[in-house]
């Protein structure tokens, strides 16, 4: 029983990492007042960029950089549309999702001719699992052994990066001047503008931060968890991350718990496939797949506390009326 629990928790960590990275990405953007439903597209673009470059260079780090590059470029496009041109942020996000879905498959087919996938990564092109010191020796110690060597040890570096990003994000947002301004611009951009700080530049920095984290999330999928890019490999994870962001009420620590919860549901769903639950029978796997979305809707309905988005989220800032 304990063994099973550890295994489920272990896969929970693996499954929630991309959600967590994307969720924190969205946190920066939305806290600055730029709604981002293009997380999915940015992750997908990053996964492709990372997969392609890691394959060509056989270097996971260059792959990660390429993923971040693609994701930041898409983020800047979103910024150009929604900050500079004051376009509809939802529409822009939808456009980015389509662009990423189409371009990755199209370019993947043109460059690699494997139906849109990138070829399997060579040695060095993938982030390997890191085994912590003494993990092997401690494996047989009861309770602590499995906890240490299964759950904590043996993940790749991006998993740890994801969980370090949580306190880091908290610190940036709540303990630095940049963070204060970033949050202010999401609540009351006019006040920030009056103080002589550029609303546009602040928001651009927020979408760049969002792009960087989405780049990590995408790279995780194609060159850490997986061994290459596959067509539409994000499969809605960007939207689950968005749901987690709302579920967490736009707060970093809660974001981690929300992502762990959704990752846990995913892990349980995989585990429960085809298994009977005593007294209930077989629970359809689709139920677990839908559960994050159902929970988010229930939260949005106001039955589990109230999720209040940043006040200026989604509203383009107009400096002067002419």
């Amino acid at each position: 029983m304990f063994e099973t629990l550890i295994l489920i928790l272990d896969s929970t960590v693996r499954l929630s990492t991309p959600l967590l990275l994307a969720c924190l990405a969205g946190l920066y953007s939305e806290r600055s007042g730029v709604v981002d439903i293009g997380l999915e597209g940015k992750m997908l673009g990053a996964a492709f960029g990372a997969g392609a470059v890691a394959y060509i260079t056989a270097n996971a780090w260059l792959g990660l950089l390429a993923g971040i590059g693609v994701s930041v470029a898409l983020g800047l496009l979103h910024g150009f549309a929604s900050i500079s041109n004051r376009g509809n942020q939802i529409v822009s996000g939808v456009a980015i999702n389509f662009l990423a879905a189409g371009l990755t498959a199209l370019l993947g087919q043109t460059w690699f001719r494997q139906g849109g996938r990138t070829p399997a990564l060579p040695e060095g092109g993938r982030f390997r699992d890191i085994v912590w010191p003494y993990a092997e020796q401690l494996r047989d110690v009861p309770v602590i052994g499995p906890l240490y060597s299964e759950l904590l040890s043996g993940h790749n570096i991006l998993v740890y990066a994801g969980f370090i990003a949580v306190p880091l994000t908290w610190w940036v947002l709540f303990r630095t001047r940049f963070g204060l301004r970033l949050r202010a611009v999401g609540e009351n951009p006019a006040a920030v503008d009056t103080a002589g700080i550029s609303v546009a530049w602040l928001r651009y920095r927020a979408v760049i931060a969002c792009g960087i984290l989405c780049g990590f999330a995408g790279a995780y999928l194609s060159i850490a968890q997986g061994a290459g890019f596959g067509v539409n490999m994000t499969a809605g994870k960007g939207f689950i991350a968005l749901a987690a962001l709302i579920f967490a009420k736009w707060r970093p620590a809660s974001a981690m718990f929300a992502c762990l919860l959704f990752g846990f549901l995913d892990a349980v769903a995989i585990r429960m496939q085809g298994q009977e639950v005593p007294g209930i029978g077989e629970i359809p796997v689709q139920f677990f797949q839908a559960l994050p979305y159902i929970l988010t809707v229930i939260l949005l309905a106001g039955f589990i506390g109230k999720a209040v988005p940043p006040k200026a989220a989604g509203i383009p800032y107009l400096k002067e009326r002419s």
């Binding site: 376009g87 389509f98 662009l99 370019l107 043109t110 849109g116 689709q286 839908a290 106001g302």
Partner: protein, 368 residues
């Protein structure tokens, strides 16, 4: 620099045209990037979609889907709502069509089944839009987020249903049994053999779609409800001040929107597939966003945009035969670019165009 300064033809003709031209120009660059000749690609695309009867038939078949989903998005736009859940609403709408067809196809001819299928699909689609609408209206939960969530819930629900209750007994395929003649709409090729639509699945639901366009035009521009919807979309605060109920307007608009999206299933399920199957919506719900933006949320514009997207789908299929490098994913890229340029960046060219028109007009004003 308000919109009022520009002549109407610039606002409704030139600017949308420039936006679209930019979208297609960038699409052309993508084609160049993958090493093909864009002009040749356009030639194949137009020939494949309009060059022969069967091609036209397929184009119109896809256009039928896009008219429904485009209208769905457009109606919500008029109330200032963004219904991004057409995909899920159309999927669930398929249930309504299927129930009608499974229940009636043995006993009555298709023209008796059709009204039930229309009502069924519209009801199911509307029902799927109801909870997001109600939450937006009473709880202020953003309809964009909830409809996205409902797309995923719909997908899980349908996979579950098609693998259990709805599955044909003894079959491994996640689909219902094939409908009998009473659950099949006639193909246009059978009705108008002289057009030579061949094996194209374009069917009578095209006329249902066109009728829906007329009805929606009447509703939006010629009824009290339509006026309320437009007022609410233009300025919600003012509308509420004028005594328009926000809850009623939001819920009714979203129900109409969801119903229209659901009706897309008539074309796919009753018109072409003749059975309910997994993922039959295949992204057509999302195409509705591009169609509505491109058609400026007006039924006439939507029909034109739907035909254009129908051409892209049919011509794109043809294109992927002739130029294997240009897979059908190219359509998704074009779709994204249209949404980007006609939607998110719609104001990008406006300042330049305004400058282009303002001096001459100021000059004219001086002389007068």
């Amino acid at each position: 620099m308000s919109t009022g300064q520009l002549p109407r033809w610039v606002d409704y003709g030139l600017i949308p045209f420039v936006n679209l031209a930019a979208a297609f120009l960038v699409s052309g660059l993508v084609v160049v990037l993958i090493g093909e000749n864009p002009l040749e690609a356009v030639r194949i695309l137009i020939w494949g979609s309009l060059g022969y009867g069967e091609g036209i038939g397929f184009t119109l078949f896809y256009a039928t889907n896009f008219i429904f989903t485009g209208l769905a998005v457009a109606v919500a736009f008029h109330a200032g709502l963004f219904n991004i859940g057409g995909e899920g609403q159309a999927y669930i709408g398929g249930l309504g069509v299927t129930f009608a067809c499974l229940a009636l196809d043995h006993i009555v001819p298709w023209y008796v089944t059709l009204p039930f299928a229309i009502i069924g699909s519209a009801l199911m689609g509307a029902a799927w839009a109801f909870i997001p609408a109600w939450l937006q209206a009473t709880r202020g939960s953003h309809v964009v987020i909830t409809t996205i969530m409902f797309n995923f819930i719909a997908s899980s629900l349908m996979v579950y249903l098609l693998n259990s209750a709805l599955k044909k007994p003894g079959s491994m395929q996640p689909e219902t049994r094939t409908f009998e003649a009473g659950g099949r709409l006639p193909f246009l090729n059978e009705v108008f053999p002289s057009f030579g639509f061949g094996y194209a699945p374009v069917n009578l639901s095209l006329f249902v779609a066109l009728a829906a366009c007329v009805l929606i035009w009447l509703l939006i521009w010629r009824t009290k409800l339509g006026f309320e919807i437009r007022s609410f979309g233009a300025n919600a605060t003012a509308a509420v001040y004028a005594g328009i109920s926000p809850v009623r307007t939001i819920v009714i608009t979203m129900l109409i929107s969801g119903g229209l999206a659901g009706m897309m299933a008539i074309n796919e399920i009753m018109g072409s597939q003749h059975r309910l199957l997994i993922d039959f919506v295949a992204g057509y719900g999302f195409v509705g966003i591009a169609v509505a933006l491109m058609g400026r949320a007006h039924p006439v514009g939507i029909v034109l945009a739907a035909i254009l997207f129908g051409m892209l789908y049919q011509g794109g299929a043809e294109l992927s035969f002739e130029m294997p490098n240009i897979t059908r994913d190219m359509i998704i890229v074009i779709q994204g670019l249209v949404i980007l340029f006609a939607g998110a960046l719609e104001h990008m060219f406006r300042p330049a165009i305004t400058r282009l028109f303002t001096p001459s007009r100021a000059h004219a004003a001086e002389e007068a």
